[in-house]
Each structure stands twice: as C-alpha cells, then as structure tokens.
Symmetry: C2
Subunit: 328 residues, 2 copies
C-alpha cells in the first residue's frame, strides 16, 4: 500500500493528464462498466461536522475504491481516496485527495468545454478567484486557445492578484472587470464562487453562443444560478443527474419548472455521441458539475501510476492482510 | 495517523477488554448517541468480488469511522477500519480489522450470554471448530464458569484438535461429541459453522432453559437455523434488527411466520433494561448476531488506545491534510 500525502499528490498530473484521466472514466461509463453506488453522508448530531463515503467500481479498468471526506467545524475539510486493484483485491494506495477533488472538477469542466464550446471561442470569463477557479482556467486553457481572460471577484484585491497569477503562471492575457455581468459576457464562462442562499448568476448575462460551466452548488441549500439559467440554455449537460437534482440549483429549477429532467444529458452521453451536444453556433450550452466518485477514482488511478513511475510516496507494505476463504 | 497491521492488532485486547468495549458501545446506543447509516455493498459485475462500506458515528464517545471490507474471488477477504476523532476531525488510525471482525462478534455473544443465560449454567456446547468458534468459547468463558465444553464439528480430526486447544489454551475441560444434537443439548450453545443453503440447526435440539447464540447466517442466501428455532425461543435478541431480517435465516423466518418482528429485541435494549431478557429459568433464549459497524468501532477505539499506550504501530504523520474553510 502506497501512502501518498497532499505534497506527494499535488501537481503530479498536468491539466492535460487530468483531462485524459476523466475522459477515460467517461468512456468506461459510456461502455456501461462503471458502478456508482449511492454515497452516504452522515451529519454529527451536534451539527458540527459530517462524514461522507463515495464508493465506485470501474469494472473495465479493473480498479475500485472510495473517497472518504469529512468536514469538521472550526477546522476544515479533509479528503482521501482508497484505491484497490479488483483482480488481486490489493489496496494499492491510500492517498490525500484534496488536490484531486479540485482538479477532477476542473478536468470535467474542460472535457465539457471541449465538447460543447464553440471551437473559435477566444475569450474566457471567470467568476471567482480561488484555487479552484485557477484550476478551471488552467484546465479549459488546455482545450481552447483564449486570447484573454476576464476576471471578476467581489474583492478587488483578489481579482487583481488572480489576474496577475493567470498572466504570470498560465501566460494568458487577463483583465479584471468591475462586475460579474462583464465577466459573464465572454464566449466561455466558468463560475466557481462561494455558493450562498441566493443565486448570484443571472440568465440575462449569457450571450448567444456562450458555453457556461458552474460547479458551486452541490449541497441542497447552496445556490449559484437563478432558475432561468436552466431554461436559457439550449443544451443542459451534467456530470451526475441524480446528484445535480439534489443540489440547491437542481431542486429549485425543478420546482419552478425551468429545469426539465428530459432535457438533461450526462457528460458521458455527449462524449460517446449517444446524445447531441451543440448543434448550432448560436446555442447556449451549459455544464453543471457536482462531482462524482468516478471522477475521483479516474484521477486517483493516474496519480498512483505516475507516483509509482517516479518513486514518489511511502510504501507501507501489504495492508490490510488477507483472510483466506474457508477460515472463519 | 497510526497504521496498525494485523500483527499489531491481533491479541492486543483480552476477551474481557473486548467485552467491555462492545458493552460501552451498546450503552452509548441505548443513550441514543449512535448513528449507523445504511452500509453499501457493491458486487463486481463479474460476480468475482464485492466491496462493502460500513460507516458509524458515536456522538457520545466522540469517535467516528468506517469499516471497509472486500472479498476477492480466489484470494479471500480483507478488513480495515478507519478511526477518526470527531472534534478535531483527525484520522487517528488506519487498522487491519480481521482480528476485530472475529472478536467483536464473540464479544457480543458473550454480552448476550451474560445477559440471557442462566447464571448457574455449567455446560457449553459448540458447533464448529474455526478460529471464530474458539474466540466464542474464550469470550463466553469470561462471563460464565463452565465445567465442560462439548464440541461437535463434522470433521473428527478438527473436533479433536479443537478439544485439545480448549483444554490447553483455555484450561477448560472439553469433550468431542459425535453429533450436533449432543453438542446442542448443553445449557449454553454457540454455533459458528459455514452457513449453507440448508439450515443445519434443529429446533428440537434445544433443551428447556438453554441459551443459544448463532452468528453464521449473514448474507441472504446463507442459512444456519431452521425456522422453528425462532418460535421455539421464548426470548429473541439480535444485534441489529434490520440486518438480521435481511439474513437468510431472518428472511426465511419472516416468510414462514415463525419469526415475528414484534417479538424481537436488540441487545442494547436488554443491556439498558428497556426490554426484559430471561424472566424464568425454563425459558429458551436466543441471540443472533450479524455484525454492525458499531461493534467494529467499539473495538477499534479500545485497540487504538491500547496500541498508543504500548507504543505499537507505525505513526504515518498527519494524513489526510486539512483544507481550511473558505479556500475552495
């Protein structure tokens, strides 16, 4: 069992590696080889924390495992993934999954952008200035050639610092804009904000032909987009239908009638060609990600393989041990 | 994070320690402090293995965690437990749970025997000769003074070897008997056999005043006792009602009408006095265990504390790392 810490994992994969990894997972999903059992989330009775377990089995690739994440009041969130080889049953690795959790989402956004955004898109708009927002810019820049990135974040200092880091680290021209609306007027729009009780993103901001990606509303109480965004989009794609419908934006959209389940596709259906994506240049396309264990495991496999190649991590020997059949 | 291998864990707790640990868990359950979310079991599509996750939160004790177990065709079963401290969110230990899985069941059987068997019982009957059977004998011998143990196992060599090990290691007189029926005629009866498609244990074997413990039927296809055993028992106690009703014996008993849910109690209800146990010397009492994550975690806490006291295991540093709130 290879123990991989956050320091071991962070940066081991390039944005392109991560995109390739989640794409492989989506192809396996399209082939009907993936099982994603329900995840369980249990809140402390005190309300001061919760524990979530997300199992997944990739029968084609021959890997299985789970992400365990937990939130602790006054402390923060911790993420880890257990990766097993199915045939031998060996626990290959126990790895920190903070980096994976941020970057699997960005990689999915990049795959969706590659599938859905206009090929000739040259401007990217970003709402948010977090590490997650930066990972998204980096990932979508791997699938489209942007001339410029428009950045909006409510805090002027944050947005200036973010512009600087895009220019220096990603080597793309970037400008800070003074309103969310200005950032949202780009051809490709990515939103990674702190989701709140009220949706922050307005349907009227999206221009014809735009591709929108949102990742901020996951829990039932968290909102990112107003309901009309769902109906303004001509093509609505998500990573996981069930989980999206449980998110704050999903629930509200269903309740108001602006979101209709039969109009939604899962990303693997677009990748495999089972459902059409963008069919005309003027359509507005939308991708919403809430995160799945498949994305986590897809990246965990790539991280494990790369770590083994490079001799990174600490080998903790065979763990757990085997109880052979026939001995009770 | 303290990494504890099978060698580290095995034998760290005495039978009395283990009994005390599961009793503490039952008391916390009686106080309404325990959350046991549904466990998820996912079979490979090939049928060649499965992965099970069993989370639990002990709000009173301040610990949480999960057992992950998986079965691999041609290899065997592996068990592990992740133990967390709730307040800090720290992953305290990652431990092999093979020893715990055998001994938590024996400890539960001992608590139930202590609560339900006649005080003056002097003879123990055992069906089975596995490590699990031995752990049961050892555990129940910690709560009753047996003059003699009757052992039956279909394989004469196994039963003789088992008799020897009880005599030499547990220092209790033991005899091999030639039929299951002879072993079942004792005052306290423990069954740990390979559960099969057909139930092996007959209702008519139980004598008046006996206490019976069965642990072999867990999966829906696995049978241990014939349906009439359920109705022959005056007092029916289980570790987890929901899981017992999903076991082969539970399903069959319900279907035939020999088992009625309203007659069943969970062990914590007996320990806390919420429901009566044995009320007359002539009653037949029955305890059936299928195993719960609470039992696993109760022992894991005791194992962790003992390992820390004795400096056992390998400290792997802080894992996983913390993502503070407010950073996405």
């Amino acid at each position: 069992m290879l123990l991989l810490t956050h320091e071991d994992v962070a940066g081991l994969l390039s944005p392109k590696d991560a995109i390739e990894a989640v794409r492989a997972g989506l192809k396996e999903q399209a082939a009907g080889q993936v099982q994603i059992p329900p995840r369980t989330t249990t809140d402390y009775t005190s309300g001061k924390g919760w524990l979530r377990l997300m199992p997944v089995i990739m029968n084609g690739a021959g890997y299985m495992g789970f992400k365990a994440m937990h939130s602790t009041a006054g402390v923060g969130v911790r993420y880890r993934i257990s990766l097993y080889e199915m045939d031998s049953g060996e626990l290959l690795s126990e790895m920190d999954a903070d980096w994976i959790t941020s970057h699997r989402t960005s990689a999915m956004v990049a795959v969706a952008t590659d599938e859905l955004a206009r090929k000739e898109a040259t401007e990217l708009g970003v709402l948010g200035s977090s590490e997650q927002a930066k990972a998204m810019v980096q990932a979508v820049a791997a699938v489209r050639s942007f001339r410029r990135v428009r950045v909006f974040s409510p805090n002027p200092e944050h947005r200036r610092a973010f512009v600087e880091s895009i220019r220096s680290q990603l080597e793309i021209d970037a400008v800070a804009v003074d309103s969310a609306e200005e950032a949202a007027a780009a051809e490709v729009v990515c939103v990674a904000i702190r989701a709140g009780e009220e949706p922050a993103f307005r349907a009227g901001w999206l221009r014809s032909g735009a591709h929108f990606s949102g990742i901020s509303s996951v829990r039932p109480e968290a909102r990112e987009i107003e309901d009309a965004v769902w109906s303004r989009a001509d093509v609505v794609v998500v990573d996981d239908l069930g989980h999206v419908l449980e998110s704050g934006d999903g629930r509200s959209g269903l309740a108001s009638g602006e979101l209709r389940e039969e109009r939604m596709a899962e990303l693997w259906q677009i990748v495999s060609g089972e459902k059409p994506g963008r069919t005309t240049p003027d359509q507005i396309t939308l991708f919403k990600s809430v995160g799945t264990a498949l994305q986590d495991l897809s990246l965990a496999i790539a991280v494990y393989q790369r770590a083994r190649e490079r001799g990174i991590g600490r080998d903790a020997g065979e763990f757990p041990h085997i109880r052979p059949f026939g001995r009770q």
